[in-house]
Symmetry: C2
Subunit: 337 residues, 2 copies
């Protein structure tokens, strides 16, 4: 910048203003400065700028597992939206480890990010709470704490579960199992809750043996499949916490010689890209992962602009059912017992 100033025959300050597009610079000077800057390949130093202005135009993104296609898509949405608005992204992966999450947050703060976008681990909230309640601009993605006043963007998990369960009931299923996620995760809770609500609404008794929880990975789904097979009246349909889980589950059932959907109907959640390409294409609840990311950025930027004064306008995105081949009408004679 000093070089540019010397070369253009003006002060450093003038260069700064010309480059920043401030109004109080003569067109001639501005043109000259810009020309020189380009010629010299001037590149602004964001560190200095950040140090001075207390704004880094960087947002910290903390996810639990970037290798999971769900979060990968989410991050893609975040990245797009952030970049469009001139923000860069600092990424950290916690692997669902609360300690890593705590560290990650500290690092981000030291890095002086303008705001934080987090997929909270939720298994241990204390670490998070203190930092997050401290008014630092933060938006939660996909998961939230019902009792904390931290803004979040989620999809309507309760509704998604209702759609799925209702679909199964409408097709005549009565013995519907749910392979849920870890209950400390809000989406797992909400999906379970939607499942329960729907059965109740239809007057179908809830069998607790039909409710498994804690499944996240493909392997968990596979194991859950084995558990289900031990159940006395075998469920005729299963609503899974996620596509990951559903795909593992599918494999497990197929391995045991069952047919999908003839023996067991199966519904997943998330509509990750592969769900259309599984052994039996998966009926699932679609949520727009990119939109989730984009909306989170939008909300965060709004917080930043309003000086985080604005009332927390959390957002719940809508969901819809995607019909494929893993679900069929319940066979006659296999109704309620």
């Amino acid at each position: 910048m000093r070089d540019v100033a010397r070369e253009a025959g003006v002060s450093v300050n003038t260069v700064s203003r010309a480059l920043a597009g401030k109004p109080d610079v003569s067109p001639k000077t501005r043109a000259k400065v810009l020309a020189v800057a380009r010629r010299l390949g001037y590149r602004p130093n964001k560190l200095a700028r950040g140090l001075r202005s207390n704004k880094t135009f960087t947002i910290g993104v903390i996810v639990t597992d970037i290798a999971n296609p769900f979060f990968a898509e989410l991050v893609k949405g975040v990245e797009e939206a952030a970049r469009q608005n001139g923000y860069s992204i600092l990424l950290e992966d916690t692997s669902e480890d609360p300690e890593k999450e705590a560290t990650a947050i500290q690092v981000m703060l030291a890095e002086r990010v303008d705001g934080l976008l987090i997929t909270p681990v939720q298994s241990a909230r204390d670490t998070l709470e203190e930092v997050l309640e401290s008014e630092f601009p933060t938006v939660l993605m996909g998961r939230y704490f019902p009792d904390l006043k931290i803004p979040y963007v989620v999809t309507d998990d309760v509704r998604g579960a209702i759609l799925a369960t209702k679909h199964l009931i409408d097709l005549g299923h009565r013995n519907i199992a749910h392979v849920g996620g870890p209950l400390h995760i809000s989406s797992a809770q909400d999906r379970l809750s939607g499942y329960r609500q729907t059965l109740q609404a239809y007057g179908i008794p809830i069998r607790e043996e039909y409710v498994l929880t804690g499944a996240v990975t493909l392997e968990d789904g596979y194991e859950a499949g084995k558990e289900l097979l031990k159940l006395k009246p075998l469920p005729t349909a299963v609503f899974a916490y996620s596509d990951f889980v559903a795909i593992g589950l599918m494999q497990s059932l197929l391995d045991e010689g069952l047919c999908i959907p003839d023996d067991v109907s199966l519904i997943g959640y998330d509509n990750i890209i592969f769900s259309a390409y599984t052994r039996v294409p998966l009926t699932t609840v679609e949520i727009s992962k990119r939109d989730l990311g984009r909306e989170a950025v939008k909300l965060l930027l709004r917080l930043l602009k309003s000086g985080s004064t604005s009332k927390r306008q959390s957002k719940k995105l809508s969901v819809k059912l995607v019909l494929r081949q893993s679900v069929s009408r319940a066979k006659k004679g296999r109704g309620i017992q």
Copy 2:
């Protein structure tokens, strides 16, 4: 820091040294400073530190598509390794767009990252060349420019293709097609080359109609499947550029009523997690995506330490074949014509 200094009754400078673990601070003072710092929740400002020391302990990661499980895994490896070494990660996604790549690099440089890790777009190299030949510490991942002296970490694509092709030949296949990737990508070139070499080595004539290129997405794979079906002697086996392509291809062939592997054997590349869960579990070439990321970080850090003086020690990681169910012995009577 000033607060800490005041509170501890020492100078800012002493605080700095105490915190940095410099030797010339009395144990007593150091203890006091540390205590106060903790009590006040002091957080070092990386911007200031970076401004002063010209080191940000941040590395820029530029990938072509974070939503692709392959790159997602890669980034996970990078993230882990970087964090272990005290580095943070700035992420940008180019969506295979050379212009975005150019912008991304500029942004990263403005951000003053210590080094760059890039999955180059390769379709337009000029933008990249200038920046990269400028000695800025950079490591390419998964793709490389044979004629540029930019360090890279890749997997042995030629060898992977040889393994795959040889496997098919060993099982009696002679009509082996290759659905390759875009030829401006080095890995696509190398895999095609490995395929060609192997056929030649076995004295099998190469039919150019059997070689398709330009496939990347699931959809591309699906389309390629339709193309293959038009071929006169239908290939009895296909080696695909990636698991993505192979999965699309599989779907396409199954939709047309073909059996895999009975009618057509199929081999993919990458061994993404879903390949074990496709309609027909996919035989594929495994490459460790995490290792790729980790090695890239390792190499970059070495460059940083050596002041980028060290001779560029690019690295080629080994690959291996993973056998699943998408490949079978060629049927008798369907040999060479």
